[in-house]
Symmetry: C2
Subunit: 120 residues, 2 copies
């Protein structure tokens, strides 16, 4: 019973730090979520509208993971109807530069392969 509470802090191991980063920002929707939260604080439903195609399940799942990783902050207002605001933590904001490099390379790669932006 005691060790049900004791949240086991298993030490993760990586071969290279890039893996650790990919684990946090990789995935189908996470870059986009980070992208928008980097602009401003969003409420759940507004973020959902901002990212067409994502299901509520995926959005909440990714938000929870990002929260667990200390990247996003979740602020709940106990009102009716409920209101929940998501924003980047300081640790989340520190991703800015990395996201920027990824974005730059992504643009170059998109040019190269003739990819386009999704019109929504």
């Amino acid at each position: 019973m005691a060790n049900q509470n004791a949240k086991i802090m298993e030490t993760k191991t990586y071969n290279c730090p890039v893996e650790a980063t990919i684990e946090v920002i990789g995935g189908k929707w996470k870059p986009l979520i980070l992208w928008w939260l980097n602009q401003k604080t969003y409420r759940f439903a507004d973020l959902r509208r901002q990212i067409p195609g994502i299901s509520e399940k995926m959005l909440i799942q990714h938000l929870r993971e990002l929260e667990a990783d200390g990247i996003v902050d979740r602020k709940v207002y106990s009102t009716v109807p409920p209101k929940v605001e998501y924003s980047l933590t300081d640790h989340g904001k520190s991703l800015k530069q990395a996201l920027h490099s990824l974005c730059d390379w992504g643009k170059a790669h998109m040019d190269r392969i003739g990819a386009e932006y999704k019109e929504t």
Copy 2:
């Protein structure tokens, strides 16, 4: 028959360039492969030895994908036994900076969560 040869060049679309990058370098083993190829040219079996835990199937699959994305170059020597060398293309080398940012953030994140490097 004619359009069996005509490799369909479907235009990819992304919501944000970061997605394009993640698609190329994301995945369980790709950062590591890139990491090593960034140091020097490797033969298949040497690369496999460098990355303990990866199966031949996964290694070849990822190498082929990276090759298709124009990131790695595959040079075959028709000798017996066969010899195949993998290296980064110029486009692959242009990832260097992005990988570096990811690596830096990854290190900071690893410190934060108390993760470690895998001893092999």
